[in-house]
């Protein structure tokens, strides 16, 4: 398929996944606040600022807002047009990418994505957000799941499909790592975490909820929520669909299906890096993760994901886009008859 089209599908998928993760993250944290008492300004800033930091947007945030209040952070993460990673902007980008490759996606998929786009940009969305933020996020999540369902049910399993999968899972791995990173400041820099207070346990539950992981977690680990178990579940569990290992695994498989190369073989850098990441995750223990320090480990992981993304671009999408000047020169040279 056209390189440009592959690129659009990949990014459309990434942006949809990004929006859904933002919706879950903000929704959960808004609800979390309901469980606390005595929330002063400083406490609120401590609650919200790490979320912005984990997204890597701290600098951008402070350019637009003086303080990390709930209102400022949620505005930044959800609606802010100047924040390209905000929920609304992510949906706009997804839809724009979809529009450019409309002929590649089915009519039902376009309709639903377009409907979501029209909704988040409508006054009704703002009103709903003001009166009942939870309902607003429900709509966004429901729509995103609808889109996933339509994609699964109607799209041909061709090359485009695997670019969509690659985009989704690379974004998911990244976002799960960032959600997990939100409370790193309560942990020791290296070494296993100690006992957590009840308030901290609530925050770690919120992390699980942000990944829709609480029920699955409990079925494996019981009612006790600890940073060690949560990290183990979200990084190393191979059966939970939002965990990093699961995502890396599906990313790796998608890459292979694009090039057609069999298991155990490689055909490009992206496959090499993805395969290595899966192997590392599969054969690591949580103790090894905390030995490095959770935050450092996640930082390194995010960099690895970036490298895979770049390698993917190099392999399939980058095809010596020379500048117009250079190309014209090539043409003139070729056309000389003497």
């Amino acid at each position: 398929m056209l390189s440009r089209v592959a690129n659009c599908l990949y990014w459309m998928s990434r942006y949809i996944e990004r929006a859904e993760n933002t919706a879950r993250l903000v929704d959960t944290n808004l609800q979390l606040l309901l469980d606390f008492r005595n929330l002063n300004e400083q406490r609120l800033a401590e609650h919200w600022l790490p979320i912005v930091q984990a997204a890597g947007d701290e600098e951008a945030f402070f350019k637009l807002h003086p303080k990390a209040t709930a209102a400022a952070v949620t505005e930044f993460l959800v609606f802010q047009p100047e924040n390209p990673n905000s929920l609304v902007q992510s949906i706009c980008q997804a839809r724009e990418n979809a529009r450019m490759v409309r002929d590649q996606i089915t009519f039902e998929l376009w309709e639903e994505l377009n409907r979501l786009y029209l909704f988040v940009r409508s006054p009704r969305a703002r009103d709903l957000w003001r009166s009942s933020p939870s309902e607003f996020f429900q709509e966004v999540k429901a729509s995103s799941l609808h889109i996933i369902g339509i994609t699964y049910a109607t799209l041909l399993r061709n090359e485009g499909w695997y670019f969509l999968q690659a985009g989704k899972f690379i974004e998911r791995a990244d976002k799960t790592s960032r959600i997990l990173d939100v409370r790193y400041q309560t942990l020791p820099e290296k070494g296993m975490p100690t006992e957590v207070s009840q308030a901290e346990a609530l925050e770690w539950s919120a992390i699980l909820r942000s990944c829709s992981a609480l029920d699955s977690y409990k079925s494996l680990y019981g009612a006790d929520v600890t940073p060690k178990s949560v990290s183990e579940f979200l990084i190393l569990n191979g059966d939970f669909s939002r965990s990093i290992l699961f995502s890396a695994n599906f990313l790796d498989q998608a890459l292979r299906r694009i090039s057609g190369v069999p298991e155990g073989r490689l055909s490009n850098d992206a496959e090499r890096l993805a395969g290595r990441l899966v192997a590392e995750l599969r054969f690591s223990t949580i103790e090894e993760v905390f030995d490095q320090g959770l935050h450092n480990y996640l930082d390194v992981l995010q960099q690895k994901l970036n490298d895979i993304g770049y390698a993917l671009f190099q392999a399939y999408i980058f095809q010596s886009f020379s500048s117009l000047e250079e190309e014209i020169l090539v043409q003139q040279e070729e056309q000389q008859q003497q």
């Binding site: 398929m1 056209l2 390189s3 440009r4 592959a6 724009e96 529009r99 450019m100 409309r102 002929d103 009519f107 376009w110 309709e111 377009n114 409907r115 029209l118 090359e159 694009i258 399939y316 999408i317 095809q319 886009f321 117009l324 190309e327 014209i328 090539v330 043409q331 003139q332 070729e334 056309q335």
Partner: protein, 491 residues
Amino acid sequence: MNGTRYGSCNLRVLKRYAPESFFDEMYTAAGEVRPHYRRIEQCFTGLNPEEFARKREAVDLAFLRQGITFNVYGDSQGTERIFPFDLVPRIIPHREWEHLERGLAQRITALNLFLHDLYHEQRIVKDGVIPPFYILSGKHFRREFVNFSVPKDIYIHVCGSDLIRGADGRYMVLEDNARCPSGVSYVLENRRAMKRTFPGLFEQVGVQPVDHYPQELLKMLQYIAPAGVADPTVVLLTPGAYNSAYFEHTYLARQMGIEIVEGRDLLVRDARVFMRTTKGLQPVHVIYRRIDDDFIDPTVFRRDSMLGVPGLVNAYRSGNVSLANSIGTGIADDKVMYYFVPKMIKYYLDQEPLIDNVPTFLANEEKDRKYILENLDKLVVKAANESGGYGMLMGPHATKEEISLFRKKIEEDPRNYIAQPMISLSRHPTYVNDSEFEGRHVDLRPFILYGEKIVIVPGGLTRVALRKGSLVVNSSQGGGSKDTWVLYGDE
């Protein structure tokens, strides 16, 4: 006398209005419903206002959700608008359509012969039928393509010749669109919308289908592929997602099952065209291009074009890629050339035109110019190479300033202006002001394919000027559209 015909229904939606001095598609001058509209009239009078409103909303919502929109240039939000769709179809009886089909086929045959002649022996000029000055000063005459043989000798593959009807009910050709005529996607989507909204009606009435257009278009494109290619790769070249007709480009590409590409997706090496894919470079043999000549190759035409493909023209010349429409057809869209089309039909086919031109005056001819300048307030003046309703003066509706502005323009550059009497376009019942039916002016753009044979989609796009009294039907200036029905029978 006639009143009782309508008195039987209690809550009528479609009410009669006075045709006045215009030809009305649905009503005769005496207020009777024309035979081919009777069944539609019955259907609409059977609807109560709530049902009708619901149907309208459903169609609008479907169009918006599907993104059947176009971008309006100069709109600050850069937003997309739905091309307004009116539910009352425009109906053409079989016999009338047969006549139009013959006339349009005659016209496109003459135009293709003209273009071939123009780019080869130029007999029509040497025999004095068209003064050479008009050709050589034509903005879109491509000297570089003289004596170049185009695939299958076809220049215009897709043409949209706009038809209007005067007060006497006679059809006339308003203008030919031989470069990138757009609108056929609306024809196809409007038909789908009507079928969903009035399902039983189609069975009853007997309407000729239109959905074979994409297959016919593809057949034509494959027909013109370079010789010796067993399974030619056909692509559609679009300016990109910000073009006002982008929806149509993606729609047609999808319906035909071909790739849609932008200039930057293509590459020319050794005078062959390739597309950049995830598996490397794939050869391209036929390009249905929706980009104007000026922008199609920065090494030949406009150097600043970012939309084209460097080296494409060279590949075209080498015969390694075919283009539809060919390069150089823009001269046929020149409104001054339009003036000569009846002469072309006579010269190449030895026939009288089956469908007349609108009477036209050339500002470059002294006698005509005198007449034009003396009657600016009564005429429609058009620039020879503008489209979309821009660069036009509607004399009877213009201010003194506008008229004197055009006077100056004509005096400075007479070659590039023509004038025509203002034709009272025919009118058609259209739902307006969210409450009632009134007559609005309409035209018709049929779509003509010229390949191994000539294929014309029954009907075409009926465009309607939604503003009261307006004669400008273009989408960019407040126009809408209707479904067009060509019946199997005459009523």
